[in-house]
């Protein structure tokens, strides 16, 4: 197909022809085109369908404010719904499809909605679909859901990469039109660190769309020269294809750079887009203005466009919606479009100007004091009907109709911190208000200065002012300086189906109904009619709706107010906000020192927070994880096992007040702990609930090593720093985390000492007498490597924890395995670790769930009343010390073989099973190879006095009821003889 509506000139590269497809038809275009400009050039006006009535939609604008020409771009797993054709940069091989239509764009079955539009008035769905009640979810809602929505996702994983980055500058300039370019030049020449960002792929803003001159140059050439000079300044960074999406606190701006969207395929490793956080000392908004339409009957047909967009397509993109065009305007700018189109050879059928004193033109007809009252054309504009000043009507034969209702400054970013814009009655538009985000200034059309000269001047002056520049400023080129005064004209009287929000199909009559029903606040109007809630967020529609509501309510526009401008300025792919943090990179992965060895051994790994830990080590022939875990437990209890417990938090506590400090941190006493000894410690939150538990070993009078649970390592460190810095600032105590510095392994089982004897250097006595239960100390291993040894036990066996610098952890594990062969040493994972601690009745994460107290855990007496410790006072509250308080117990099935379910609830042996009779719950459960039975730990009301009682364990969720016996939580070696052996 040829480019029948391609005009002369423009900023496109005719030397290169690009091929693209729209709805499976092939077309050609040139570099510099957008998808919209190329479709227009190829004679395609119909590009989409509206949301509710499925009305045919063409292009309305030439920028990111586009509500209508939105398509599904690309195919397969790169399909990108709701993409604006107006900002989609053309590349060879581009493929796009129209959306929200079936079976085709031209014949859309749901266009039937348009015929029933009177039944589908604003908010009709709130008043019906209520009977019969069940039908809403079975029938009505599925119907509505299917019909709603615009484009579709591929349902496949997005294959592209996204990046995030951080940039800093003295001055961020948002928008590279005349004011932005001059501001950048002023600041750049003065040596400031400047970032100039613009959403377009060609910098220059409106200058690229205009035919007037700046000095001796055409506007576009002048812009090009400015860009060239700015590019040469090392302190100025130009960021084209970059939308500043939001103004966040303290001068931080979000910006999205589209680094790959204009490419057919991304080079390997390159991102599709980058989310920049720009840290600016000052920022200058030079975002320009957006033209606004006028509402009239059937003003939504493809071919009806903003006049400035028609001009942009003609001047910049050398394309037109049709060969015959009309203009409908209430201001002089509309005439500029007519003149430019005329100069490009487009036939101007008429300029319809509502003003009786419209300027006269001799090259084409100007209908002064006239209005467009209706249009025709099923899939695109064919005729426009004009009501002339004398009341007669006339039909204009045209395929394009440019509408100009004046301009709205793009104030969005000025309102991102809840500031409100101010009404300017000369412009009949909102301009930036007084309460801008701190550090933000505004120049050019965004500030309401509409002429080119004023924009250039304010760009220079604002930049100079915010940077406090002294001395001479860059000269300004001569530029048009036409005074701008807009007489507001929002809609043609007497119309009903005149569109305000073209995407969401909100018409003048919907706003009237909203008013009639009392939805008069702008927020109610928006929410009731959906005005401004479409993908363009009402950039071309809100103002019209607001003006109409003000008129209906008999209030002024500023008294009626605006809805709130929210980021992002234009929609941003969710993938861009996520950056690289997805898939395996979602969170960092922490590997234990024995990880590579465990992998070689075929370990199965499990995520524990960010750690990957070996869960069990299957042997050939083992088909079920239980086989592996049972073996690991049995072998450890029978001989010796080794487990990597590096993940436990380790905090080094030093200082002359270290012991006193721990006395405050732990509810039990630490002041009298001897050097070379370790003690179990229970840490409470200030509210008296258990925060964490662990051990503290005293390596010297003024030196402790504290361990925390894996899960709470970070939280406990923060808490300790809080206590140190904020509560007891004069304590001489220093803290540092050493979790990662040491590879720490539990060596457990009756033969653990024998195994360690082969590792620990001979000068260290590790006999029961020389190194008794709870001893700790610095030692050396394997011929002199510094190490730490703790005689502590989580498994209940004779056990040690040995630590060496992490880089030697891999080698130490291999050594333990080889030296342990004679004892049949077994590596064990977190499952066996868990089984053994349940057998021993040690509380862990499932029991320390943030609601349990020391009393619940059976450690109530540990809370010392003789000293001040965090949480001790509030732990005494009555509600935490009731007679029937939950106590930790062991749970065993009455019938061997029955399973215990963690999360099951405990009910009396008989009686009802319901919440009112709930007496406790099971926190942890496992199969105990040592007892050859399932066992569990749990909390039971007055549990400590109910040992031996038979109860029911119920789990209706998993359809289970088991008869259980309440027993002591210490299933294995309750007297603790083994660990002291």
């Amino acid at each position: 197909m040829t480019q029948i509506n391609r005009l002369s000139g423009g900023q496109i590269d005719r030397a290169t022809t690009l091929n693209f497809r729209f709805d499976n038809r092939s077309y050609t275009a040139h570099p510099g085109d957008t998808l919209a400009s190329a479709l227009l050039a190829n004679g395609v006006r119909l590009m989409g369908r509206s949301f509710k009535y499925h009305r045919p939609r063409g292009v309305l604008t030439a920028g990111s404010e586009e509500p209508n020409a939105i398509v599904e771009l690309r195919t397969g797993n790169r399909q990108e719904p709701n993409t604006r054709a107006t900002t989609t940069e053309m590349f060879d091989g581009l493929e796009a499809h129209s959306q929200n239509r079936w079976p085709s764009l031209k014949f859309d079955a749901l266009a039937i909605n348009d015929q029933f539009s009177k039944f589908l008035s604003a908010g009709f769905y709130y008043k019906t679909f209520m009977w019969p009640a069940a039908f809403w979810e079975k029938l009505y809602e599925p119907m509505i859901r299917r019909a709603a929505g615009l484009g579709s996702l591929s349902m496949q994983e997005d294959p592209d990469e996204y990046d995030k980055g951080f940039r800093h500058c003295d001055l961020l300039i948002i928008g590279a039109g005349p004011s932005g370019l001059m501001a950048a030049l002023t600041a750049g020449r003065a040596g400031a660190d400047v970032i100039l960002a613009d959403e377009d792929f060609t910098l220059g803003g409106r200058l690229n769309s205009e035919t007037f001159s700046l000095g001796d140059e055409t506007a576009a050439n002048w812009a090009g020269q400015m860009v060239a000079e700015l590019s040469a300044l090392p302190n100025v960074r130009l960021m084209p294809r970059t939308t500043v999406i939001g103004a966040f606190d303290h001068g931080i701006y979000g910006a999205v750079e589209r680094t790959g969207d204009h490419l057919a395929t991304l080079p390997a490793g390159k991102p599709r887009q980058i989310l920049w956080r720009i840290y600016s000392k000052r920022a200058l908004l030079c975002a320009g203005a957006t033209e606004r339409p006028i509402a009239f009957e059937n003003n939504d047909r493809p071919g009806v466009m903003l006049a400035s967009a028609l001009r942009t397509y003609a001047n910049r993109f050398a394309s037109s919606a049709a060969q015959r065009a009309a203009i409908f305007t209430n201001n002089d700018d509309g005439h500029r479009t007519a003149a430019d189109l005329h100069a490009k050879g487009v036939k101007i059928v008429a300029v319809v100007d509502i003003r009786p004193d419209a300027p006269i033109n001799y090259e084409y007809e100007v209908l002064a004091g006239a209005q467009i009252v209706d249009t025709k054309g099923r899939l695109g504009l064919t005729f426009a009907e004009v009501k002339l000043s004398d009341g007669s009507t006339r039909t204009l034969d045209c395929g394009a109709l440019g509408v100009s209702g004046g301009w709205n400054p793009n104030v969005h970013l000025t309102c991102h911190q809840r500031g409100r814009p101010a009404w300017n009655s000369d412009l009949a538009a909102f301009v930036p208000g007084a309460d801008l985000p701190p550090g933000l200034s505004v120049a050019g059309a965004a500030s309401g200065l509409m002429s080119t000269h004023a924009a250039l001047q304010s760009g220079t002056e604002e930049a100079a002012q915010v940077l406090e520049l002294k001395g001479s400023l860059p000269d300004l080129p001569d530029a048009e300086d036409a005074p701008v005064s807009q007489t507001p004209f929002w809609y043609v009287q007497g119309c009903a189906r005149a569109w305000l929000d073209q995407q969401n199909d909100v018409t003048v009559k919907d706003v009237k109904l909203s008013h009639q029903e009392g939805f008069r606040s702008v927020e109610h109007l928006k929410r009731y009619t959906t005005l401004g809630m479409a993908t363009d967020q009402g950039k071309t529609s809100n103002m019209g709706g607001l003006a109409l509501m003000a008129e209906l309510a008999g209030k002024s526009i500023p008294d009626t107010g605006t809805t709130i401008f929210r980021p992002p300025y234009t929609p941003v792919p969710i993938g861009t906000f996520a950056g690289r943090m997805k898939g395996q990179a979602f969170h960092p992965t922490r590997l234990t020192p024995s990880h590579y060895w465990a992998k070689e051994r075929g370990a199965v790994f499990v995520e524990v927070g960010n750690w990957l830990r070996a869960q069990w080590f299957p042997l050939p022939g083992e088909t079920h994880w239980r086989e592996s875990v049972d073996r690991e437990v049995r072998q450890t209890r029978a001989s010796v096992g080794v487990c990597d417990c590096t993940t436990l938090g380790k905090i080094d506590v030093q200082g002359t007040d270290a012991a006193d400090f721990l006395n405050r941190i732990y509810c039990n006493g630490f002041a009298k702990l001897a050097v070379g000894k370790t003690r179990y410690g229970l840490m409470l939150r200030e509210d008296g609930i258990t925060m964490d538990d662990g051990t503290a070993g005293r390596l010297a009078e003024d030196h402790f090593v504290v361990t925390t649970t894996t899960a709470n390592a970070v939280k406990v460190y923060q808490h300790m720093e809080f206590v140190r810095q904020c509560l007891f600032p004069d304590m001489d105590v220093q803290l540092i985390s050493t979790t990662e510095a040491w590879a720490q392994y539990a060596v457990a089982g009756p033969n653990s000492r024998k195994l360690l004897r082969k590792i620990v250097d001979p000068e260290f006595d590790i006999s029961n007498e020389g190194f008794p239960f709870m001893a700790c100390g610095n030692i050396t291993v394997c011929g002199g490597l510094r190490a730490r040894l703790f005689r502590i036990s989580f498994s209940g066996e004779l056990a040690f924890e040995i630590a060496v610098p992490s880089r030697y952890g891999d080698a130490l594990m291999r050594r333990l395995m080889s030296e342990g062969e004679e004892f049949d040493v077994v590596p064990y994972g977190t499952e066996a670790l868990g089984v053994m601690r349940i057998e021993k009745g040690h509380a862990a994460g499932n029991e320390l769930n943030g609601t349990t107290t020391a009393l619940n855990l059976g450690m109530g007496r540990m809370v010392s009343k003789k000293k001040d410790s965090i949480g001790s006072t509030l732990s005494e509250r009555e509600g935490l010390n009731e007679d029937d308080a939950l106590k930790m117990v062991g749970i065993k099935p009455v019938n061997t073989g029955d399973q215990i379910t963690a999360g099951g609830h405990l009910m009396g042996a008989s009686g009802p099973v319901d919440a009112a009779h709930d007496q406790g719950y099971v926190t942890s459960a496992a199969f105990s190879p040592s007892l050859d039975s399932h066992i569990g730990l749990g909390f039971l009301k007055s549990g400590d006095t109910r040992l031996g009682e038979k109860m029911r364990l119920v789990s209706p969720l998993t359809d289970l009821t088991v008869e259980v016996e309440i027993v002591s939580a210490h299933f294995v070696d309750p007297e603790g003889e083994r660990l002291r052996a």
């Binding site: 980055g165 840290y279 943090m581 960092p588 001489d732 291993v781 030697y808 891999d810 080698a811």
Partner: protein, 186 residues
């Protein structure tokens, strides 16, 4: 002498090097580290003793100093001392001896993995990694910040040369982030 073999944080027997464009990322296991935190009331003495250890004034906020034993500031009256591993594996012991009871010293050698980033375009990589204004960082500056959710020290050795210290257990994740940023930016 003990006979345990060390592996690098990335799990190799020798350090890993990656190059994209003109930027090189080198895993640098050859550094010993120890933290030094002045005891309450001993701050001036601790600074003097630290100065003696590194042969320079104890670095002030956000700075590093000293060679071959160097120190960088990590917090109020707190520093990290670094030295070549081959000659100073027992750095913590040395520091402890020299600082005596003026400061608390803790071995940190294997708490960290170090990556050295060198090359003309290194700033383009750094701006994808961390929020610090690395363009403004001068030789001799040190800062702690977050890189891909990991708390890291960033040391500016010279304008085109940075060292990153990240948590050793996450060396692989940090390395992945650095190399991805290199491929993206270069």
């Amino acid at each position: 002498m003990h006979d345990l073999f060390a592996i690098t944080a990335l799990g190799g027997s020798s350090p890993q090097t990656d190059r994209v464009g003109n930027v090189t990322c080198t895993e640098s296991p050859g550094v010993a580290l120890a933290s030094v935190a002045a005891r309450s009331g001993q701050e001036p003495k601790a600074r003097t003793a630290l100065g003696a250890l590194i042969g320079a004034d104890a670095p002030s906020v956000g700075r590093f100093a000293g060679n071959p034993v160097m120190a960088f500031w990590t917090g109020p009256d707190q520093w990290m001392v670094a030295a070549p591993f081959d000659t100073h594996e027992e750095l913590a012991h040395l520091a402890n001896t020299q600082l005596g009871d003026t400061a608390s010293v803790c071995e940190q050698t294997d708490a960290w993995v170090r990556f050295d980033l060198d090359g003309d375009d290194v700033l383009a990589v750094m701006e994808l990694l961390c929020v610090l204004d690395c363009r403004k960082m001068q030789a001799g500056e040190a800062a702690r910040t977050a890189i891909h959710h990991l708390g890291c020290f960033v040391i500016c050795r010279s304008s085109g040369a940075f060292s990153l210290y990240g948590p050793r257990s996450s060396a692989g994740s940090l390395h992945h982030a650095i190399v991805a940023a290199m491929k993206s930016a270069l």
